[in-house]
């Protein structure tokens, strides 16, 4: 075990997969010699060569389309899209083909591939680099969607995604790529897809978050405890499928839920979570579910991104509201 950042966890996951599975290739823009614009693939091209870690032309549909073709022909491609805001040219390949090939071919070609994309804001990135459109993919039957928030989960979820026979969209919280270090197990180790992580035990309110919002939720929970409110924090990790059991168990205990996500509110994943809680735990609830999300406006340029992203203050207010309903 050694202490690693989240992006090193990703790097370590890719290295392990390339080492242990000869069918794995990493492809995308700048993933080779440059080691990725965030250095997620640093050192891999040197170690595994040009046929395993492949710099492609600048073409997202081409990258994902090629990855699907490779998967059909027996490989396990891990495609990188440089930023989630640039994934849309590949949207058709993902939604029309990757997500449906298993159904359309009745299991003959399951499109076993991973598409990695850094998402979210908070790093003062240029315009249109800070999208969080996970709901588009969660809404698409046939895809799995995951978003780690710790170095160890980053590696374990990535290796699960690579071994998973279904197509997985792996969303990377770029804001916390290097926010902290953590022990990351060596070798091939997996964090199961579909299982949430209980970050903090609490009694009064369940805070549900993933990716970039997990540290924000943790901070809110710490401060709430100083005001005498005990918050449980759930890191979903897996956005599809959801760990319903963990969510329902927690909200049945606390009777209150605040969902925090960076994506806009309207038809965001928070809406689905609120509906599930309503369907599965209505009689246990002490207050309506609150959502603290990005606003329903285009993601702003960075001068206003802190106003757009869920803030500590808005979360505090939501906790106060569910506690005083």
């Amino acid at each position: 075990m050694s202490e690693k950042t989240l992006i090193q966890g990703i790097n370590e996951g890719l290295r392990t997969a390339l080492k242990e599975r000869s069918d794995v290739v990493v492809l995308g823009e700048d993933v080779g010699k440059n080691g990725g614009v965030f250095r997620a693939t640093e050192g891999l091209w040197e170690e595994f060569g040009d046929e395993r870690v492949i710099d492609t032309p600048l073409a997202e549909a081409g990258i994902v389309g090629a990855a699907i073709g490779m998967a059909i022909n027996g490989m396990r491609p891990v495609a990188e899209i440089q930023f989630m805001g640039f994934i849309y040219p590949a949207f058709e390949q993902i939604v029309t083909h990757a997500a449906r090939l298993r159904t359309r071919t009745q299991g003959q070609h399951p499109a076993s591939l991973v598409v990695r994309a850094p998402y979210g804001g908070g790093i003062r990135a240029p315009e249109l680099h800070s999208d969080s459109t996970e709901a588009l993919f969660v809404h698409t039957p046939g895809l799995k969607v995951v978003a780690p928030s710790t170095p160890s989960d980053a590696k374990g979820l990535l290796l699960s995604a690579i071994r998973d026979p279904d197509p997985v969209i792996y969303l990377e919280p770029m804001k916390i790529y290097r926010a902290f270090r953590q022990e990351v197990p060596e070798g091939w180790f997996e964090v199961p897809i579909g299982k949430a992580r209980k970050v903090r035990e609490g009694e009064d309110v369940t805070l549900i978050a993933w990716g970039t919002m997990v540290p924000v939720a943790e901070r809110a929970a710490r401060e709430a405890s100083e005001r005498g409110v005990s918050c449980e924090v759930l890191d979903l990790r897996s956005l599809c499928p959801l760990d319903e059991e963990a969510i329902v168990t927690s909200v049945k205990k606390t009777g209150r839920a605040v969902i925090i996500h960076e994506a806009p509110k309207n038809a965001g994943l928070g809406a689905e979570l609120a509906a599930r809680i309503h369907e599965l735990a209505f009689l246990w609830m002490e207050s309506p579910v609150k959502r603290v999300t990005g606003f329903d406006v285009p993601v702003p340029m960075f001068a206003l991104e802190d106003d757009f992203r869920p803030s500590q203050k808005r979360i505090d207010r939501a906790i106060h509201k569910v506690m005083t309903f």
Binding site: G62, A66, G69, M75, P77, T96, T103, Q106, L280
Partner: protein, 355 residues
């Protein structure tokens, strides 16, 4: 006929000079196969249009007029090669080993029609235009990385050449020198829009040079020329010499689909010219008869056999037991997540409502 790089068999059934030497080199069985497959494909196609009119299958995409392009190209492939078809490639699919009955199931709206028998490398029809090109390129890339000799073929029409996926796939194929063949049946229309509205460049094939891959434009109604162009492309791909863009100039005699009416946008004299003068089957039939390889009696006999084959496929398809509604969930994921299990139970009426 627009200018083409290769024509071996002229519309009247005479061989060109080059065509004669090619013809001599082709085994007799293959000569007859060209003809037999084209007749079988047409027989299937005509019957399918009737089945749609009778309400026995859904909307159908007819291919009549394009038999030479499909048969000539498909007969140059081997079992190990990957085929990424559009929705008009029934001829290609049946030659690759897709049972007629399953092709009919597809047009009956049944997903089983997407699934070839074990060992047949035909993907389901790609309905959104040109999306199969990047995937064929990717499959070819995998073959190259794995040092396997299989090639991949993407089949598409002239309309697909306007899509971004066309450019991306050809560009990757050129950059990485991939064993992929881009086979364009230029039938002159994307539904109603003529090729002149797809492209300011007069041919598809010449675009190959922009990607540093090989391009060739053949008379797509000349099965012999199509086959030789495809054979060359396959050989090049297997040798590691990279991709080829083949433009087979052809014509769809009928409408885009049975839901379309081509008389709204095509000049009858143009259609007449292609139907009467340039038919792919009649020119091959004339040649085989002139060469003494086919008699009128053989023609009748083969047509009857094809009819019987198609009859049987129709019977089988119509007799196939209806899929159960539960089938909706069968292959969404390898393992169903809890929410989907609940929805499955909801469908079957075994509870599944919210707790």
């Amino acid at each position: 006929m627009d200018r083409v790089d290769r024509c071996y068999l002229k519309p009247g059934g005479q061989l060109t000079e080059e065509g004669r030497s090619r013809w001599e080199a082709v085994p007799e069985e293959l000569k007859l196969d060209f003809y037999r497959w084209m007749v079988q494909v047409r027989s299937f196609d005509r019957r399918s249009v009737i089945l749609q009119r009778q309400g026995r299958i859904g909307t159908y995409a007819p291919l009549e007029g394009q038999e030479a392009a499909q048969v000539g190209s498909a007969l140059a492939l081997s079992k190990e090669d990957w085929i990424f078809p559009s929705y008009r490639e029934h001829g290609v699919a049946m030659i690759a080993g897709m049972p007629l009955m399953r092709i009919l199931l597809y047009w009956m709206g049944r997903v089983e029609g997407n699934v070839p028998p074990e060992g047949v490398r035909v993907l389901p029809p790609y309905v959104p235009i040109a999306t199969q090109l990047p995937q064929a390129m990717g499959a070819a890339w995998a073959s190259k990385l794995k040092r396997e000799r299989s090639v991949s073929v993407a089949y598409f029409g002239d309309g697909a050449t306007s899509e971004g996926d066309f450019h991306e796939a050809l560009n990757f194929a050129g950059v990485f020198q991939l064993p992929v063949i881009f086979f364009c049946q230029n039938n002159h229309y994307a539904i109603s829009v003529p090729f002149s509205r797809q492209s300011a460049v007069p041919t598809v094939a010449e675009r190959a040079c922009a990607y540093n891959i090989r391009g060739i434009r053949v008379d797509g109604n000349d099965v012999l020329a199509v086959h030789s162009a495809m054979e060359e492309a396959v050989t090049r791909a297997r040798k590691g010499d990279g991709a080829t863009l083949i433009e087979a100039v052809t014509y769809r005699k009928g409408s885009h689909t049975t839901a379309d009416d081509a008389t709204r946008y095509r000049d009858p004299s143009e259609v007449e010219d292609w139907v009467r003068e340039k038919d792919p089957i009649s020119r091959m039939e004339a040649l085989l008869k002139a060469e003494g390889l086919l008699s009128e009696e053989d023609v009748k006999k083969w047509e009857e056999q094809c009819k019987a084959l198609v009859d049987r496929a129709v019977k089988e398809a119509e007799a196939a037991p209806a899929p159960s509604a539960d089938h909706l969930f069968a292959h969404v994921f390898e393992e169903l997540p809890p929410e989907l299990n609940r929805q499955r139970a909801e469908l079957s009426g075994e509870g599944g409502e919210c707790v």
